[in-house]
Structures are given as structure tokens and as C-alpha cells.
Symmetry: C2
Subunit: 415 residues, 2 copies
Amino acid sequence: MKRGTSRDIRTANRYEVLRQIIASSPTSRQELAAATGLSLATVATLVGELLDLRMITEVGFEDSAGGRPRGLVAVNASGGALIGVDIAETYVHVELFDLALNVLARAEENMRPGESRPEQVVGHVTAAVGSVVAQAGVEAARVLGVGVSVPGQVDRDTGIAEYAPNWDWHDVPLLDLLSEHIAYPLYLDNPLRASAVAELWFGAARGHGDAVVVNLGTGVGAGLVLGGGLHRGVSNSAGEWGHTTLVLDGRLCRCGNHGCVETYVGALGIMQNLRELSPQSPLLHPGDQTATIDALAAGVAAGEQVAVKVVRDTARYLGAAVAVLVNVLNPEVVVLSSWVAARLGEPLLEEVREAVARHALKRPLAASRIVLSAIPTDPVCLGAATFALEGALQRVGQRSTKRATPARSRTAPAS
Amino acid sequence: MKRGTSRDIRTANRYEVLRQIIASSPTSRQELAAATGLSLATVATLVGELLDLRMITEVGFEDSAGGRPRGLVAVNASGGALIGVDIAETYVHVELFDLALNVLARAEENMRPGESRPEQVVGHVTAAVGSVVAQAGVEAARVLGVGVSVPGQVDRDTGIAEYAPNWDWHDVPLLDLLSEHIAYPLYLDNPLRASAVAELWFGAARGHGDAVVVNLGTGVGAGLVLGGGLHRGVSNSAGEWGHTTLVLDGRLCRCGNHGCVETYVGALGIMQNLRELSPQSPLLHPGDQTATIDALAAGVAAGEQVAVKVVRDTARYLGAAVAVLVNVLNPEVVVLSSWVAARLGEPLLEEVREAVARHALKRPLAASRIVLSAIPTDPVCLGAATFALEGALQRVGQRSTKRATPARSRTAPAS
């Protein structure tokens, strides 16, 4: 049974304190206690652990009114490096971050259609990881870990990509394959949870107990932040909202069901919305999702009726589907993330807000804000790197307590 | 921000230890530690608190192999009384429980259609509460509290029934009205959360981190147990799954939207399913939900084609809607509760399992069991009484710590 042990709490508090330090360096233990609600004694212990790990450093003193000068701490940006890997349908993005989660290096590999065998993907990831480490010039020993996001359903404990509908992958031992080429600790998860954890640490979900991060890309899903932490479900597959039924007996989905949310609001679904409205539209770039979504965004900006109508139709579907999340989960904030949301931007957001208001009950509606993700870089890379950061913080806990816990990473700690 | 403070943990642990003692009296501290995963020292402290409150008693010793005899504790059934109130569309049920949650007395008041003004409902509740206390012959001082469940959206902190669609109630200060007649501590919530907490403490959700309790009655909704506790959402309105869109532009719902789950699988929705299939069916009792559902249940038992088809159609809608909960939340168990589920029973359950399997993704589907509620009495009364028990346990915490917390009950503690 999953329950809040004191160990879970200690790990969550460690995350919270580091999050706060990253957000507001330099800061004092007193400010951290005020911001987190933790006792000063607890904050002092956690700050001590982070200092020992060189994740943060002492950076002097500030005057406190009349009292003793307060010691200030700040994130030790160069104390380690984290790598985030975003494996998507058509590309692999890799970013290397310092401990303040600044991007130090980027690499991108394009994958041609059909180029989706596991060993091909592993080759691209290996090349891109090598590239960012070389570009940034960091020592191997300073890389604390590599977070890897792969679409579909993943078993993070075993590192297996259980099912990726886009590539028809079944039970691919991705971390085992990667660990033959990459010596750093590896952490596997999927883009829903990566983008949710990015918003939780650095974005619109920060400081909110209950938040939903709606990913709109080729695939569609929702990362859930509930009770202040990521909600994974019993088999790490929560958030598969893209494959819930929006239209009974509706469009055929690649998951095999009919009428899934994804078939109406994913990139391919939006193309279909356009095709049904205006089959000969010059906005339609058959076989090219990115070009079509870009053309729609440009069309809306130029006030083209067909483009405006397609965004409205899409928002109508999306509003009904987002209202499900609002009514069922009653979150404080709903964040629209991933590339389709980023490109369609404010016009989509406004239409979605109106559509959600038509479908959601008043009380949960009044409690929820709907916003676009404000993370300026690839949130999936950032979130994947955050999993590596969390993994490093969790290993601290494993060293400092006697109690055994299941391994969260497929490989041995780097240290 | 909602976060796991050590105080929340202590309250949750207190619940967990008492739950375990209720489930397995007599039991030892060692067994409790093993069952809950808490340390023996923590268990000993919590057991001490419960002994001080006379909620449990020492009941002798058991031999342990070679070691010191272990002290046994058991719930002190007569140490207090709890009252649960289930205010529904057509009736008020009230049950009085001892601390082992055995029913000591019951009262039921019928409400005629139209008899739904707040003061009328308050009159029925007051009469029924007086009746159960008199029947059971308990002293007023021993009543630890009264949990009140009212349909719709409630603000438990202020005790206001914000919106009850069935009666068109808006912002009714129900606990203030009740407290003019009832001197015990009062706790307000709704049937979704009452039935969920009943399953969490005493039913199929016990011992599971993530569970969904689907309420099928006149109203429809889902009580959510996530991370081992009740998920309330930011404004205590999570679980309004009955008012999520199942059929875009579908049947008009009493909430004002179209195509809500409730309009297809609530008692009135099932009547409509029957009417559309066979407008002249003798199974249909216009204006009488209970008689119609009973007739359908009898018809299915007798193998009548129309009845079988209606249950199958209903399960087809319900399966798509339950699959949303399975895909989004990835729970270990889905419990079908409330009177429609109880009356249609196994035939509905089997059809629902098949329908969910057609709509849910394989990984979350494989992790979820779907079961009927096994709670033999009214789960809403039991859950409402459990809120009163939780309230009494929480007041312990408030007395034993210096830190202020918002009042969870509208009235002063009885003690």
C-alpha cells in the first residue's frame, strides 16, 4: 500500500527546499522556512544535506533587523550537470543543464519516418548525449544523471518502454539498451510526467497542491500534480486522458478505440478537423503536422475564417475534455503544454477557456485557472532532467537511512 | 499550498492505526506496526493516545514465541457513539454507530416531492437524530459527532450546501440551521466523499493507495481515494464525474449541460435508456425510479430480453465513462456503490467489466479490479459517521499541539 511514510515526507521536503532555493537564490534558512512552511530546524537539516552534496553553497550573510546576520545559501550551479532527453515521434532533443537548471548545451537529432527501431533510437540518444557533454565540457563524474522521456506507457522501475503506440513498441528494455552506451544513472518516464514535473518545479504548477498539465502534441495526455506531488497511479500509467472517449463511436484512434480525445485535439486530429471543414484548404499540408499547425497559427493571426473556425472547433472538443479534468480533479491550475499548444497559443487558450466554462460545474470552474505553459525551453527535456535531479536527491536519502527501498534507477549511482 | 506536514502525517497515521484496530481487534502493537508499516514506537504513541481517549482498551495479553507476552488492545465499542446522516432526494436515513461502527439504531424519514425547503429537511434530520439517540439510549455526552451528507457541492469548512441541483439549493447554511437543534459536533460533506471514506475505512478501498468509488443512484459521481487518502480537490468539489461529457451534444442534464454521464447511467438515465428501447415496456414505472430499477433487476434475473438489453446499453455507457477514470487515475480498484449498483448487482458488474475492457488502455486496465461495494448497510451513513470519527481524532491533534489549524467542524467540541 502506498502511504505517506516519514521517509517519503523527508524526500518531498528535500525537493521542496531545493526547489525554493533554485527559485530564489540567494536565500536564508529563515526565508526558506517561511516559504515552505517547514520548521527552521528541518530546513537547517535539509540545507546541511544539500551543502554536503555541493548542490548549494554558502554565499555570505544578510542583515536581519537587529538580530544576528543570516547566512545565505544559493544553488551551486556548477556543482553538477543534469541531462534531459525528449524522445518524440520525429526527433530526439537533448539538453544539458547546470544545477540551476540553466541550459548549457543542446543537441537535436531528426528521425526519419520508419526510423524507429529501438537500436536506431538508442543510437540517436547516445550521439546527442555525447554531443551535449562534449559541448558543455563537463567532466563525466559531474553528470548526476540522465532523464529519458519516451512516449507511451513505461515501467520506470524496470526501465522498460511497455507500449509506444506510434512505433508499435512492446516491452522494449530501453534503459538496458541505453546503459550499454551511457554510463550515467538513467531514469525513464514519459512526456506527460516529464512536463508535469517541469511545471511542478519551475512552472505554473509550482506552489499548487493540485494541477493538471495538458500535453497537446501528436500525442495527447495529462500530467497530474495532486496533493503537491506527481500522481503516477498504481502502475505509473495515470494521465492517459488522451485515450478517453470524447465522442462515443467517434473517430478511430491509433490505440484501437473510437472517439478518443487525441483524435480531435492532437495534431493529427486538428488536421482532420481542418480536412472536414475545408478539404481543399491551402492550410492543409498532408503528411506534415508541423507545417499544418504552423499554417493554422499564421491563418488565425491573419484573421482567416477557416483557420479561426478550426481553432474554435478544436477548442470546443478540448473544452469538453478539459472540463472532465476540472470536474473530476478540481485543480487550481490547468496548464496547456507541448508544441501544439505553444504554436496555437493565446487564440486557442481563449477559445478553450470559453468552452470549458460551458461544460464545467461552477464551483470547480471558479477554482481553476487555465494558462499556457510559460516554460521557455522544451518542458519535456527540463522535466526529464528534473527526474535525474530527483533521483540524485533520492539517492542521498538511501545513503542516509538503513531502510531498503526499491531502486528508482536502472544503474548504480555515479558516485 | 497543500503539502504533507508532519501534522497531516500524524493525523493520517492515527486514522490508519484506529482503522487497523477496528478491523482486527484484538490486536497487538507489534501486529499493528507490521500491518501499517509504522515503527513500533510510533504505534505505541498512537495507541497511547487512543487509550487516553477511551476509543480503545487493553484486553489482556497474547503469548509471543519465547518473548514477553504482548499486550492486546481492542476497539472500545461502547466508548462513544457516532451518527451518520444520509440526506437523499426522497428520504433522510440516520444511523447511530458504536465505535466499532456497528449500527445500534436506525431512523428513516420519507420526504415527499416538493418537501425540500431547507427548514423541512432540517426538521426531518433533527427528528431522526433524536430518534436514534433515544432508541440506542446513549448519553448525549457520549455522542462524538454527527456526519451529514447532502447531495451536490458543499463547503465543509463553512458548513454551507453551496449547490444541490435536485432541490435548486444555493448557499444554504445547513450546519448553522442544524446546530440550532442539534448540540453535537457537526460535519458536512457529500455522498461521493462519504461513500469513498466508507470504502477507505471499511470496504474495498481499504489498504489501497488509489481507488475510485463510483456512486450510481439518482445522482452519479465518483469518490476518489488517491495516495491513501480522500482527494478533495482545491475547493472540495473533486469527483463530479457524473457531470462530465459522455456524449457531445447529448441528453440535457439537470446541471444545464448536455450529454453528462449521469443522464445515461443515473436512475433517470437508465429509465430513459429503457424508454428509448421499449416505450411501452411494463418494466417502466413513470415517475418512480426505484420501482423501475427493481423491475429491471427482476427482469434481468428472469432473462427478459428488454431488461437484459437495457442493462447492457447502460453498461456500454458506464464502461466508456469508467474507462475515463481508469485511464486518467490508474487506480487499483473501482468500487460500484449506491442503490442502483446494489440493485442491478452482478449482471451490471459483468457487463461493465466487458465494456471497460473495450475502452481502457491495457496497462491501467490490467492494474484495476472492478467490484461491487461489499458494505452491507448504507455506505453514505457509514461514511458520514466516519467523518465524525475523523473529526473526533482530529480534535485530539488540535488539543495536543500548539499549532492553529482551521476548524473542520462548525460547532465547539462536545467535550
